[in-house]
Subunit: 222 residues, 2 copies
């Protein structure tokens, strides 16, 4: 699917609105280099849209009734039997309960579960001087907007992040392979607080070889 | 290296002693299905011995001055560029500081960084009724013996655990490939509290096809 200019205009219009509600079906922007969190009731669905096709979105889900229970990559992998979730796979919490099911994916299905969220230390390592936006701070800022503080920083589900694992176990940081407008649809299996970060990585090419992090969008479907 | 019967006798003798000190160079047992923790100063080395060759040891390292900083698999992988550490690789903390260097490994080098520690929920999932020993509880019990409480349960370094990742991203739970007496030597890069759990998994064959978890040993070298 190639996203139309009129849809992009609509996305940009909607992205300026305050849309952190459980029932709003309009598009919410995850601003470039920033995070956004939202409460989602069990029974709804979340559509995450890779508006420009090149953007990685670090994604977290917390049990809305107990933030100490959250989507966990290391607990999910043994249950789904692979390192990259596919349509139909259930993501598990650190208490091994279903929290999110991936029910639709128009992208080639390349996502990552093995790399930590970037943080201030990551950019120092990459020789960036001064403060650099990062997904860890974005998680905490986005949750704070809703009045929440995550008890820890779970390893995120890096939607659209392309980290191939070779036969010898070596990994590479490669550009996304998704197209503009590609989306995934997630079904919460409990009431959740979800947090997204449009990853601000602009030193490694994970957000495209032009190193330009951009905005994405999501939508809560009834 | 095949471990001699006299060495095994010595291991068993030593394993009954209280050896949680910084300077003791004798062998300490990690009892079958149980955990053990130890403080280790920077400058020492830790030799972990797979006494019978078949045992997986879930391994954690915490900064002794701040337990909120700990060895992190998701932060280590991007820095070493692979999912399985090799001799010479540095394990990183959640603040991306070096905490442990793998300086020697007599085993075939098959270890795991992608699977969560087993826990009570894992064994319920595997249809075990009642309480089952598990690595998560072992971590907390072992740390408690030294007066510590981990602030969270980091994803462990599963030394000798054999989880091959196929080209399509699928994973398998396979028996260890190490030999009796195989060991790894770790060099702490800061003062650490290390915790080990001789994994009690006896439903999946990760600790050998006979499904018999056994004891391992470690030694603090000057």
């Amino acid at each position: 699917m190639v996203i139309s200019p009129s849809t992009l205009v609509e996305m940009r219009r909607c992205s300026t609105e305050k849309t952190n509600t459980l029932t709003n079906t309009s598009l919410t922007e995850i601003p470039a280099r920033r995070g956004k969190a939202v409460r989602v009731q069990s029974g709804k669905r979340i559509k995450m849209i890779n508006t420009h096709g090149t953007q990685v979105v670090d994604t977290w889900a917390f049990n809305a009734d107990d933030l100490h229970e959250f989507m966990s990559m290391e607990h999910t992998r043994p249950h789904i039997g692979r390192i990259i979730p596919k349509v139909g796979d259930i993501m598990y919490t650190n208490k091994r309960r279903p929290i999110i099911t991936l029910i639709e994916d128009t992208s080639p299905g390349v996502h990552d579960t093995i790399i930590a969220a970037c943080d201030q230390y990551r950019y120092k390592f990459l020789n960036f001087e001064g403060y650099h936006d990062n997904c860890t701070d974005n998680l905490y800022a986005a949750m704070k907007e809703l009045g929440f503080t995550p008890p820890e920083t779970p390893s995120p589900w890096n939607v659209w992040m392309n980290i191939p694992v070779a036969h010898d176990g070596s990994i590479e940081f490669m550009p996304t392979v998704s197209k503009p407008g590609d989306y995934v649809v997630l079904r919460p299996e409990m009431d959740v607080v979800m947090a997204f970060s449009a990853c601000p990585q602009d030193i490694l090419p994970i957000n495209g070889r032009d190193l330009k992090p951009v905005e994405c969008h999501f939508q809560i479907l009834p």
